[in-house]
């Protein structure tokens, strides 16, 4: 009685699935708190069937289709990657999962009664190629998933951190926090110019205390912002440059020219008040 390979694999389905789930990374760990074991097993079962589908075609084909040709497999792989990205710590976990499955399959393949040295070598090669394709696709998905996360986070950071505050009549405060890149610099400049026009600000205080690294490009962006503000008729006071920042700027050959610089935000505000003809005084002086 001859038993074809697909039929043999079909018969072993339960055993292989159980082995896979047993041996898969994270099966024993408590990391999958939010995903119950039951839900995880069901997801793995669906993925298992999707991966196995091309292997169960009878008679076996020489060429196994890559994930590009299987829309539903793609979908489930991506779902798995997304799920793992949310819960698991390692980017390699989805890949490791696939490697475990390949090993399980190879082990079972060796137990096929009709196996000869030639067919075994041939089937092993076929299976390896098939899994290579799936692994490549999964890896690509993992990377894209990460890229998406990073760009989403930088978007939200950008929106968080560019307020223009109205400090006093005709005085604006622009506290810069975090890394300044070209996109953000443009956004900051836009916001600032709009606010200067709206409030008819005569003085703008730009505070750099929260900018960790001031390099050539950051300095250029700040310089452009200052020049633009000047064109609108607003004076600019720079505050909060660190000693390291000052040394770097000078060694890079960047000159802020005649821009007013002050050591602290407090001194900068005092300067801004002076420029608009005001000062902060004690209560006794005003006769109250």
């Amino acid at each position: 009685m001859s038993l074809s390979l697909p039929t043999f694999l079909q018969a072993r389905r339960e055993a292989m699935l159980a082995e896979w789930i047993e041996a898969s990374p994270g099966a024993d760990a408590e990391t999958s708190v939010s995903l119950s074991t039951e839900a995880r097993n069901r997801q793995m079962e669906i993925l298992f069937d999707e991966i196995m589908a091309p292997l169960l075609v009878d008679p076996p084909t020489d060429f196994l289709p890559g994930p590009e040709e299987q829309a539903s497999l793609q979908e489930h792989l991506q779902a798995m990657v997304t799920e793992q990205a949310r819960h698991a710590a390692n980017a390699t976990d989805p890949i490791a999962l696939l490697f475990v499955l390949r090993q399980v399959l190879l082990d079972h393949l060796a137990q096929w009664p009709q196996a000869s040295a030639e067919t075994l070598a041939e089937d092993t090669a076929r299976l390896t190629r098939y899994f290579d394709q799936i692994t490549l696709f999964t890896f690509d998905s993992v990377i894209r998933q990460r890229d998406r996360q990073i760009s989403e986070q930088s978007m939200s950071l950008m929106e968080l951190s560019t307020p223009v505050l109205r400090l006093w009549h005709q005085i604006l405060l622009l506290p810069l926090v975090g890394i300044i890149d070209t996109g953000r610099a443009r956004q900051v400049t836009d916001h600032l110019l709009e606010a200067i026009a709206r409030h008819e600000a005569r003085v703008t205080v730009i505070d750099l205390t929260g900018v960790p690294i001031i390099d050539t490009s950051v300095a250029q962006h700040i310089m452009k912002t200052i020049d633009a503000a000047r064109l609108l008729g607003s004076r600019v006071v720079l505050t909060g440059i660190s000693p390291e920042g000052a040394q770097t700027l000078t060694k890079l050959g960047i000159r802020f020219g005649d821009v007013t610089c002050r050591a602290s935000l407090r001194a900068g505000i005092a300067e801004a008040l002076l420029l608009t003809g005001k000062c902060i005084a004690s209560m006794e002086d005003s006769g109250r």
Partner: protein
Amino acid sequence: MKKIPILRLNRILLVSIQEDLTDNEAMQFQSDLVNKVAEIEALGVAVDITALDVVDSYMARVINDTASMVRLLGAEVMICGIQPFVAITLIEMGRDLIGADCAFNLDQGLDMLKTRIAGRGDIRFTDDGDD
């Protein structure tokens, strides 16, 4: 390695360079001064170079850079007491070698610093008691 003393007169810092500095000493002086300015939020710095007979282009650059750094930290800078022949050499080496403001001697330099500081906004905060 020589260390140049940085003297403090209220919120003005006073530095006197008395002898030629090696490259390392010059760098050390630069970072010492910059850190001190930031630490006490100095309002003015007077650098006295009366005793220097030779100022090469490197030293001129160090002085100039230090002045720029100090200005970025929000303090006024005055270079005092450049000798006449040093001045001629500096001009022959290049006009912008010393970009900071200069005074004839320390006395005049301090006077000019004080005048400038009096015109600043943050001096009015110095007597509000929380310094």
